[in-house]
Symmetry: C2
Subunit: 453 residues, 2 copies
C-alpha cells in the first residue's frame, strides 16, 4: 500500500469552485481524503499555483507529432495534408512507434495530460500483412503510455475502405484487417490493466461499410457496458457530401440508424453538422470531441460547440494531430472559436472549459472515476503556476483563459509524480522527440514528406 500526501494552496474542487489550503491524501492510485482549510503539513508534497484535476486528451494520433512544423509549405488542404500523413504512416514499425509515442506522450504529460485516448489505426505491416504479433502496434502504444507515466484508452479502430464503396489505396492497407470480423477478433484479443482501458473506434463513414456497424457496436459491448466508441464525424464537407450521395443520410444519422449513439459515443470533430445532427447527439447524451488547434490547422472549420452543449451533448478536447500539444490552449480555443463565430464573449464559463478538459474528457475515455479532486477519485493532479509571465495577475478561477502548457509545474498520475518543476521523470523530452522524429524521417522509405505543389 502506497500512501502519499499533497498540499495545494488552491485546488479546483467539484462542482467547479476553488478550495484554499487543500490537503489531498492518496492511497495507491486513489484520492482518499480531500480537506479544505488545512495549513501545509511538513510531510506533504507542496503543489504550487492552482491545482486542477488531470487533463484528458480525448483524441490522439500519436504518430502525427512527427509532422509538426513540416506541412506548411506549398498550400493545399486537409486532403493534401493527408498525403503527407500517409507518407509518415508508411515509415512506422513497432519499435519506431514505441520511441515516437513515448516521447509524444511525455510531451503530453508535461502539458498536464494524465490520460490519452489513442485513436489507433496503424495496425499492420505496410503491405497489410499482420506482424507476428498482430497487436504489436497497439502494444507499443500501451507500453509508450506506461513509460511516459500516463494512462491510456486504446481505441482500436476499424478501417476497411478508402471511401464509401472504394477499395483501399496502397498507403491505407496497413490500417485494415480485411474485414470487420478479423478486426474484432484482433481488437478483442487484449485486456485492460491498471493504467490501460479499451474501447473501439469506427474510423469514419468513409472507411467503414454499413455492414460492419453492428459488429463494431457488438465489439464495444463485449468490452464493457460503458466502453467507449469513438468516430470521426463530419470533419470536412466532402465527407458529408459523399455520405449523403451514397446513403441519403448524414454521418450522425447513419450512426443513429445503426444504434451507435449513446452516452458512450464520442463524435470527434463534429464540425459540419445539421441542426438535426446536433439534436441527435444531444438526445443521446453523446460526447463531441473538439480539437480546435487541429481544426484550424487543417482548415476544417468551427463546429457548433455551444449548440451541442445546449442540446445535451458533453464536450471533450483533443490535440489530435499534435501540431500543438497544449490542452489549455485547446480549452481556450473552444471558447475563442465560438467568440469568432458569434460576436459574443463568455460562450463557455471557465468552469465549463475545465469540465471538458477533466471530468467529461475522462468519462468519454471510459474513466468515469477520474477528473475530479474528490475522495474516491483517481489521484490525477496538475499544478499550474500563477507566477509566470503568462499567469501573473490573473484571477485563479479564470486561469484556463491565460495559462499554457509551459505553466504546468507538477503532474501527478495515480498518486505518482510524473512531472516536477516542469521536468518529466524521463528527462529531456525535447531530445527524445528530436531523436524519434529524426530517426523516422531518415529511414529509407523517403527523406521528408512530399511537398504539395
Amino acid at each position: 500500500m502506497t500512501r502519499r500526501r499533497f498540499h495545494a494552496g488552491l485546488a479546483w474542487l467539484p462542482p467547479g469552485r476553488l478550495g484554499v489550503d487543500v490537503q489531498i491524501d492518496v492511497t495507491n492510485q486513489v484520492l482518499t481524503t480531500v480537506t479544505v482549510g488545512v495549513p501545509a503539513p511538513s510531510d506533504a508534497v507542496r503543489l504550487p499555483g492552482v491545482v486542477l484535476p488531470g487533463f484528458a486528451n480525448s483524441h490522439s494520433h500519436a504518430f502525427h507529432r512527427a509532422l509538426r512544423g513540416r506541412t506548411h509549405l506549398g498550400g493545399g488542404s486537409f486532403w493534401s495534408w493527408r498525403e503527407q500523413m500517409y507518407a509518415l504512416a508508411a515509415r512506422l514499425d513497432p519499435d519506431s512507434y514505441l520511441e515516437l509515442a513515448t516521447a509524444t506522450y511525455a510531451e503530453m504529460a508535461l502539458a498536464g495530460v494524465t490520460c490519452v485516448g489513442e485513436f489507433h489505426y496503424v495496425h499492420h505491416q505496410p503491405d497489410g500483412a499482420p506482424y507476428d504479433e498482430p497487436n504489436a502496434m497497439g502494444d507499443a502504444l500501451r507500453e509508450a503510455a506506461r513509460r511516459a507515466g500516463i494512462r491510456i484508452t486504446l481505441l482500436d479502430t476499424c478501417y476497411l475502405t478508402a471511401g464509401i464503396g472504394e477499395p483501399l489505396r496502397r498507403e491505407q492497407r496497413r490500417f485494415s484487417d480485411g474485414d470487420a470480423p478479423a478486426w474484432a477478433t484482433r481488437a478483442l484479443d487484449r485486456e485492460a490493466d491498471a493504467t490501460t482501458r479499451l474501447g473501439v473506434a469506427l474510423h469514419s463513414v468513409r472507411a467503414v461499410p454499413l455492414a460492419a456497424y453492428a459488429l463494431i457496436g457488438g465489439a464495444r459491448e463485449r468490452i464493457g457496458f460503458d466502453a467507449p466508441l469513438h468516430v470521426h464525424v463530419s470533419e470536412q464537407p466532402a465527407e458529408n457530401e459523399a455520405c449523403l450521395a451514397a446513403y441519403g443520410r448524414t454521418p450522425v444519422e447513419l450512426l443513429d440508424d445503426h444504434e451507435l449513439l449513446g452516452r458512450w459515443t464520442t463524435a470527434v470533430h463534429a464540425t459540419h453538422l445539421t441542426r438535426s445532427d446536433v439534436g441527435l447527439l444531444g438526445d443521446a447524451g453523446a460526447s463531441a470531441c473538439f480539437c480546435p488547434t487541429t481544426e484550424r490547422d487543417l482548415a476544417d472549420g468551427i463546429g457548433p460547440a455551444r449548440a451541442l452543449a445546449d442540446a445535451g451533448a458533453r464536450l471533450t478536447l483533443g490535440s489530435d494531430q499534435h501540431a500543438v500539444v497544449d490542452l489549455l490552449e485547446e480549452a481556450r480555443a473552444l471558447e475563442m472559436h465560438e467568440r469568432l463565430v458569434t460576436g459574443a464573449r463568455g460562450r463557455f464559463a471557465p468552469a465549463a472549459l475545465v469540465a471538458a478538459l477533466t471530468e467529461d474528457g475522462h468519462a468519454s475515455l471510459g474513466w468515469p472515476e477520474a477528473g475530479r479532486i474528490e475522495a474516491g477519485g483517481i489521484a490525477d493532479l496538475v499544478a499550474v503556476r500563477l507566477d509566470s509571465v503568462r499567469t501573473a495577475g490573473v484571477d485563479p478561477a479564470q486561469v484556463v483563459l491565460a495559462a499554457t502548457a509551459a505553466d504546468v509545474d507538477t503532474v501527478v498520475v495515480g498518486g505518482e509524480v510524473v512531472v516536477h518543476g516542469g521536468r518529466h521523470a524521463l528527462g529531456d523530452v525535447g531530445q527524445l522527440l528530436d531523436r524519434a522524429i529524426t530517426n523516422l524521417w531518415s529511414r529509407p522509405a523517403g527523406s521528408s514528406p512530399p511537398v504539395v505543389p
Copy 2:
C-alpha cells in the same frame, strides 16, 4: 564605440531564407557585417536555435495587461469588456503606469519583441485636467520601454468624442485634450531619441470628429515625412453602422476622403471591411495591423488578411490588449484564422508571416531600417530554440508555425543582450507583473473590474 560579435547556427536572412553558420558583427546599434558559412569564433556570443530579426509588436495598449484573466465571467461582448477596461484606465497614474508598462514591455521582450507601437490615449488625470507635466503619461511609457530594454514608437492618440457627435462619458475624459489643436500642441511637444520614435493616432471614427482629421494629418507631417499614423478601423460592425449612418461612408472611405491613407498609415484590426475598403488600403500601400488573439478574445471576427495582402497592403501584428503576449502565436493565428474561413491551408507562406512579424511591422512603426538581418540594419535579434518540446523535430524554415514565446532564448536589442537563456535582465518579470497588477487593483478606486451580468 561598442562592438559586439554574435554567431548563429541558423539565421533568417533577407529575403526569407535560412543562412547556416552566420557571424553577425555589430557596432553601436547597427549590424555592420553579416557573413554566412563561418564557424563560431571564440569571441562571439553563441545564439541557439534559429535566429530571427527582432519582432515588432505593432499595436499595444500597455495597461490592458492588467485585465488578463479577469474579464471572462458573465459573458458579454466587446462593449461590456470595454466597461471593464475603462474601470482599469481610471486607476492609472504616471507612477503606476510606469510600473505596469515596464513589466508588460519586459514580458514583450521575453517574447522576442524588440520594438513596440504604443497606441497611447490615457493622457490626463481622471477628471480630464492635465498633469503638471502634460506628457507625464507618455513619458512614463517611454521610460518603461527604456527600462525593459526595447524600442518604442509612441503613437500619441487623438480622442475627443464618445461616439460620432456624442460628448465624452465621464470615464473617457482623461483620454481627451478637449480639442484637436490642444492635442497637437501636447503631442508635438516631444522629440524622438535613440530608442523612441514618434507617430500619431486617430483613435477611431467614433472618437474623432471629421473636422480634426486634417489637423491630425498635419501633425503627422510635422513629425516627419514618413511618420506613422495609426487608426482603429472597423473592429466591430457597430462602428461601421454608426459611421455609415452619420456620414454615408465607411471608416476607410472617410480616411481616404481626408487624405489620411498612405504608406505611413496603419489600419488596426481592419476586420469588417468592404471590398472597396480593401482596394483603398491596398492602393495606398497602407498597413493593416492584425491582432488575432485579441480579435478572437473580444469576439471581433476575422478580417480579410489575404485579400488585403493581395490588394497591395502590408500586414503587421500586434498583441493589443495583451490577453496573450506571444507574437509567434499572433503570426500563426493570422494564418490559422484564414484557414478557418477559407478551408485552405498555406494562405500565407511562413516567410510572409515572418515578414509581418519583423520588417513590415517595423516599417509601420517608423523604423524602416529594422527587422532584417543585413548590414546597415538595426541590430535586433531573436534566438528561438529548436530543442524544446514544442519545436523538436520541426523544419527550421517553418518554426513560426510551431514555436511560442516560451521558446525565445535570447533577445538582442540594438546590439545589447536584453534576454538571455529565457531570463530578462530585469529579473523575475512574473513578479514585476504581479506587483504592478496587484497594486493597481488594490487602489481605492475599486477592487476589481465590474462583472457584466
